[in-house]
Amino acid sequence: MKILTAPRMERCIGCHSCSLACARQVHKNLSWNTAGIRIASSGGLSTGFEARTCLACDPAPCAAACPTGAYAQRKGGGVVVRKKLCIRCGECAAACPVDAVYLSADGEPFVCIHCGRCVPFCPHDCLEHKEIGGEAAAAEAPDGGES
């Protein structure tokens, strides 16, 4: 299984093309919030950017917290999402240790599904979509160690 990582965030120019691409392609939204990857400036623009995205936990605390099975453990890390099962309780977002689950104004959760469709839209090659083992995933700081 492949996962999305953001290993070169020091290259990020803050264009938000990745977030917009995720929202557009995966969620059919115009948004930089309802997306599996969100870009934030870390302490103002002068200090660069960080990516808020799923670190592919295994086991995933959000899946464990989900009471209805809308979030289930994904093989290789992260979660498989079944939107129809979601009751919008927000437990997944509360359980995520790295703020990777975004809750929309009406409580719908959005998280990275590790499809990699954002990757081609990054003009500076900050992102990667690759096969990764459990140990390697744990050793790599997915957003350049800035989170």
Partner: protein
């Protein structure tokens, strides 16, 4: 979000209350420049001065903002402290996408807050807060406090003014997200006059996309053109700073208060040198994968033995021209120091640099002394210019107050009008010839981007005033539609009229797509109508003698051609405004008859 009308937030600072207004006219005025003109027409009081609390400060985006890449600018419209007339200034950063995701086509601020205040808006909130404790804060300190006060890192835009805006300087800019600016014609003073230190826009909304396959496919095509081809290479590579050497080789680079148009030392402050010595990284406006923002660094030894601090400063061709070439400061780090100082105090660096270049020559000629300039101004003396930026921003004495109101005003009082490098406002960094000089001097924004006069100069040798002015008028109309969208003008090669029509159709604006030509002309005419209604007389614009004395690669400037261009352009501007006024009356008459029927 995709709608046949405009959704506008109007905030009245007198009461601290806001209201959402729905405005018709999408198919007539599109958005951006068109919407800003429409709102100015609705809210502004042409008979009252620029700093009257009733005057509006307008920020408008376009129908494609967020939906396509590089639709990433915001148009700011206001009555300018520089000439007390209708004015437009364009800025980027995150402002456009933040407004889009706040679900607003425009923000209109009227009134005056009782104390120094800030405004925070989003898709689900609006508040005006007292920030009297920020009085006198520079733009960095202001930004830091705003970031602490308002959540939403990454998805908020923070517009703020520095001491220059608070001092109502006609050269005060509005800084957007640290590295971008609504630079020209004094928008910062309009915020100052409203007691408004800053605006935080939270882009916290989301919207469903248009159904069907057209939009995703077209997005992919446009994105590919903007990133995978060479079309935007210049802006991503050296940025606009690439122009320094190009202009210098053409003998079209104003140098040392335009005493000359090329200089061997220009190579020291070229885009190449800035990249090699100072470039830290690129950054981008939200929604733009090109990343044309170039951030250089300066470091300062603030204490012995080895205590340093560092700062990041954005640079472009224009700031390099204004505080490098014009002030004969040919060390990139020294030029960045001056840019940083202008930014900190919230001055438009182009206007301020050109103004100080005049002040330096006036000092050399003995027209002013340190009694006026406080610090001795000498070409090349970067440290003095850093100090002078503060005097200019605060309006330290009568001299600096006059200078900040416009170089020609100071020159009329102290002498030296001949060498004031002013074309409607302080000049831009192109001395390409007669057509550019007239296009900036008379142009609506007095910007080199109003129309491609600088390009016409480079491509034509014949001296046909009617043909040149026809080009300016036609080019301006097409740029009006781009700035109504509000596209970054760097993308004008990609966003052709045909492609814009496709984009508009793909997201549901078929009416606009079919009438681009008519809408462009309507916006162009309406902007000129507003400019003239607020007192503009194009015939009275002065082009100082220095512009007739320069020599470009084409040879000396032809005074007669310059004069013929000015006469013809003035005539055409007047007829555009008259036609717009007549069309407006006819529309009103039709509406009246419709109601009566």
């Amino acid at each position: 979000m995709i709608r046949d009308h405009f959704r506008v937030m109007r905030v009245d600072l007198n009461t601290g209350r806001g209201e959402i207004q729905t405005l018709e006219g999408r198919d007539l005025y599109a958005g951006g420049s068109g919407l800003a003109a429409l709102l100015f027409s609705k809210f502004a009081r042409p008979d009252k001065p620029w700093d009257d609390p009733d005057q509006p400060l307008i920020f408008a985006i376009g129908p494609l903002t967020g939906l396509f890449p590089l639709m990433s600018k915001t148009v700011c419209a206001f009555k300018s402290p520089y000439h007390d007339q209708f004015a437009e200034s364009h800025g980027g950063g995150r402002s456009a996408l933040a407004l889009r995701f706040a679900d607003l086509d425009a923000l209109v601020v009227t009134g005056k807050a009782r104390t120094l205040s800030c405004l925070s808006i989003g898709s689900r909130h609006m508040e005006v807060k007292d920030v009297h404790f920020m009085r006198g804060f520079d733009i960095h300190a202001t930004g830091k406090l705003f970031r602490r006060m308002f959540p939403g890192a990454g998805h908020r835009s923070i517009l703020r003014i520095g001491p220059a805006g608070e001092a109502l300087s006609a050269m005060a800019c509005i800084i957007v997200d640290t590295y971008r600016h609504f630079g020209r014609l004094g928008a910062g003073a309009v915020m100052g006059a409203k007691n408004l230190k800053g605006i935080a826009i939270q882009g916290d909304g989301s919207f469903p996309l248009p159904e069907g396959k057209d939009y995703p496919k077209l997005f992919q095509d446009v994105y590919g053109l903007l990133t995978a081809t060479e079309m935007m290479h210049k802006y991503h590579n050296l940025g606009t700073a690439e122009n320094v050497i190009v202009m210098n080789e053409l003998k079209a680079l104003p140098f040392r208060n335009m005493q000359r148009t090329s200089d061997p030392s220009a190579v020291e402050i070229s885009g190449e040198k800035f990249a090699e010595k100072t470039l830290l990284r690129n950054a981008a406006c939200a929604g733009c994968p090109v990343g044309c923002i170039h951030l250089g660094f300066v470091r300062e030894k603030f204490m012995e033995p080895n205590q340093y601090l560092y700062r990041q400063v954005s640079y472009d061709h224009e700031p390099i021209f204004a505080v490098g070439c014009m002030l004969a400061v040919t060390d990139p780090f020294a030029a960045l120091d001056i840019m940083e100082e202008a930014d900190k105090v919230g001055l438009d660096v182009m206007s301020a640099g050109v103004a100080l270049a005049w002040a330096t020559e006036a000092s050399e000629k003995g027209l002013v002394s340190t009694a006026e300039t406080v610090v001795p101004l000498r070409f090349g003396d970067a440290a003095a210019y850093q100090q002078a930026m503060w005097h200019l921003a605060r309006g330290e004495n009568e001299f600096y107050r006059l200078l900040a109101s416009g170089t020609l005003r100071a020159a009329k009082r102290f002498g030296g009008e001949d060498f004031a490098c002013v074309l409607g406002q302080e000049m831009a960094g192109y001395a390409t010839g007669e057509v550019f000089f007239v296009s900036q001097a008379l142009g609506l924004r007095h910007s080199h981007l109003d129309s491609g006069g600088y390009s016409f100069d480079q491509k034509h040798t014949e001296k046909d005033a009617a043909k040149a002015v026809e080009f300016l008028i036609t080019d301006e109309a097409s740029r009006c539609f781009l700035t109504a969208m509000v596209s970054c003008l760097f993308a004008r090669g990609v966003y052709t009229e045909a492609r814009l029509a496709d984009c508009l159709k793909a997201v549901g604006y078929a009416g606009l797509a079919e009438n681009i030509g008519a809408v462009s002309k309507r916006i162009q005419g309406e902007r000129w109508r507003l400019r003239l209604a607020t007192g503009y007389e194009p015939e009275r614009v002065e082009i100082p003698r220095r512009f007739s004395e320069v020599v470009t690669w084409k040879g000396p400037i032809d005074g007669q051609y310059l004069s013929a261009l000015k006469t013809e352009y003035s005539r055409r501007i007047r007829s555009l405004a008259t036609e717009a006024a007549q069309a407006g009356s006819a529309d009103a008459e039709t509406r009246k008859k419709g109601k009566e029927a």
